[in-house]
């Protein structure tokens, strides 16, 4: 079993880590996932319409295309594995949580619909894990660390890293819980395995997110204000 999970870990680091295919989540879990996701999207659509008005569609569409492209930028870590971005926390810090939920919904939805990365019935839970949870957790952590982020460059990097790392861990915990509740995985196995693997994946996510934020902050600080339209 340990061996099986070791190879699962390699597959997870390289591949679409959290995209659950159909058949692995039970019908009740899938339906609850759809209901929660639909609620989050409905709220996000309302908030986004209020904040971004008619710029919303082109802005979020291009950002979603950006997240797609950023996810393929990887770097070698060790032993043939590579790290790459999921992007939920980055999108939330750059655009605010509501626009980020729409953006990540477009990304995860298109991945399932066009590239079969993740199932159709499982799309609700997949959007919930990779779009809604990463955006909300990433944004909340970054906001909570606001004073640290504003104190210095190192502080900003730490806040970005923490937000991204925790967002990935939260998504991994949610995925594990769904697999457990679906009767697909035993809790004693899936929680340590997923949380452990994503503790490592999260480091890559955190480092890339912090560096991306530092780059935007130093070259185009005006873009960071998109997340706080009230201050414009």
């Amino acid at each position: 079993m340990a061996l099986a999970y070791q190879s699962a870990a390699v597959g997870l680091v390289e591949g679409p880590a959290l995209h659950i295919p159909d058949g692995f989540v039970s019908v009740p879990v899938a339906l609850v996932g759809y209901v929660l996701t639909a609620g989050a999207i409905a709220l996000a659509v309302r908030m986004t319409n209020r904040q971004l008005d008619e710029r919303a569609v082109p802005l979020m569409g291009v950002t979603a295309a950006f997240i797609f492209a950023a996810q393929m930028m990887n770097f070698p870590v060790a032993g043939g594995t590579s790290g790459h971005l999921l992007g939920g926390a980055l999108a939330a810090i750059l655009l605010g949580p509501w626009a980020a939920i729409i953006v990540m919904t477009a990304v995860v939805g298109l991945q399932a619909l066009l590239f079969q990365d993740g199932g159709l019935l499982a799309m609700g839970v997949n959007i919930l894990n990779m779009g809604v949870i990463t955006a909300l957790v990433g944004y909340a952590v970054h906001e909570a660390l606001g004073p640290v982020a504003r104190s210095s460059t190192t502080g900003a990097a730490l806040a970005g890293f923490a937000a991204a790392w925790l967002s990935v861990e939260a998504a991994a915990i949610a995925t594990s819980a769904q697999l457990w509740l679906s009767g697909t995985s035993a809790p004693g196995v899936v929680f340590p395995a997923m949380v452990g693997v994503h503790a490592l994946i999260g480091i890559g996510e955190g480092l890339i997110t912090a560096a991306a934020l530092a780059f935007v902050r130093s070259t185009r600080p005006d873009l960071l204000r998109l997340a706080r339209p009230a201050m414009n």
């Binding site: 079993m1 099986a4 999970y5 699962a8 591949g15 295919p21 159909d22 058949g23 692995f24 019908v27 409905a42 659509v45 319409n49 008619e54 919303a56 569609v57 082109p58 802005l59 569409g61 291009v62 950002t63 979603a64 295309a65 950006f66 797609f68 492209a69 950023a70 996810q71 393929m72 930028m73 770097f75 870590v77 790290g83 790459h84 750059l94 729409i102 953006v103 919904t105 990304v107 298109l110 619909l113 066009l114 079969q116 199932g119 159709l120 697999l179 009767g183 995985s185 035993a186 004693g188 196995v189 899936v190 480092l207 890339i208 560096a211 991306a212 530092a214 780059f215 185009r220 873009l223």
Partner: protein, 263 residues
């Protein structure tokens, strides 16, 4: 992952009934059929067998190469590892004991694992049939029939429209990085993992600022053409009765199978 691996669309052109069918019928039918597959109880092999019949017929009707469809259905294979431990942890009569470590595979665990694998494989096949016979633009049009918020659907259309533009820009940046990262046999290029992650982070940040600039230009161009924030779509052609009836019959068949199984 290379650009090709990420952005390969599954659509394969052919002349068939399934290719001609309206995405507004195909997409909901596929999702509901996958729901029907997932509703099968562990060990309901007969139900799963009957549910597989229309899928096999669909592959035949689609005129897609069977080997191609089967090859693509292996997509979800890596995820199987997440389910394997269930064979050991489900209580039941022990069947086989793994030597050295002493874990035992129970009969109930094996049935459970087998059901998960079969249900997942059949669902993936339905997905393959859908994505192989429906062009992406049609699939997105199918989304509109599901009455999703217009803002979301418009964003998804936009994402698809710029996926390849921004993707190609990202791919150029990756090529540029690779060109600057020459390797000598036995000597690794680049610095520490932290340094490499920072390079990727700066690439992502730079791609973000470029994407925002592009977004501004696109918005200005849309405004110049009279865009007022309200997404507009072409009117849909009317649904063909035969397709709706066929989809209804298929779903009735699935429901009937479940009723028979539970009686």
């Amino acid at each position: 992952m290379t650009l090709a691996a990420v952005f390969v669309e599954h659509y394969r052109h052919a002349e068939s009934v399934l290719h001609r069918a309206d995405a507004r019928v195909k997409l909901p039918t596929a999702v509901l059929y996958i729901l029907a597959i997932s509703l099968a109880r562990p060990g309901a092999w007969l139900t799963l067998g009957f549910l597989a019949v229309p899928i096999a017929a669909g592959i035949g009707l689609s005129r897609l190469p069977v080997t191609g469809v089967l090859g693509r259905s292996m997509l979800a294979l890596p995820f199987v590892l997440a389910a394997v431990p269930i064979a050991f942890t489900t209580p039941g009569t022990p069947l086989v004991v793994v030597p050295l470590v002493g874990w035992d595979v129970s009969d109930a665990g094996l049935v459970r694992l087998g059901s998960i694998l079969v249900e997942s494989w059949l669902s993936v096949l339905v997905g393959v049939l859908l994505t192989s016979t429906t062009p992406p633009s049609e699939l997105l049009r199918g989304l509109r029939a599901l009455r999703l918020p217009r803002l979301l659907v418009a964003t998804v259309f936009f994402t698809y429209r710029y996926l390849h533009v921004v993707g190609a820009e990202g791919a150029r940046m990756i090529t540029a990085r690779d060109l600057r990262s020459a390797e000598w046999p036995g000597q690794r290029s680049g610095g520490s993992i932290r340094w490499r992650a920072r390079v990727v982070g700066h690439m992502a940040g730079s791609l973000f600022t470029r994407s925002m600039d592009r977004g501004e230009r696109i918005y200005a161009a849309m405004q110049a053409r009279g865009y007022d924030g309200e997404p507009r779509f072409l009117a849909n052609p009317p649904l063909r009765t035969l397709e709706v009836v066929a989809a209804g019959a298929l779903l009735t068949f699935a429901v009937a199978l479940h009723l028979v199984e539970r009686l």
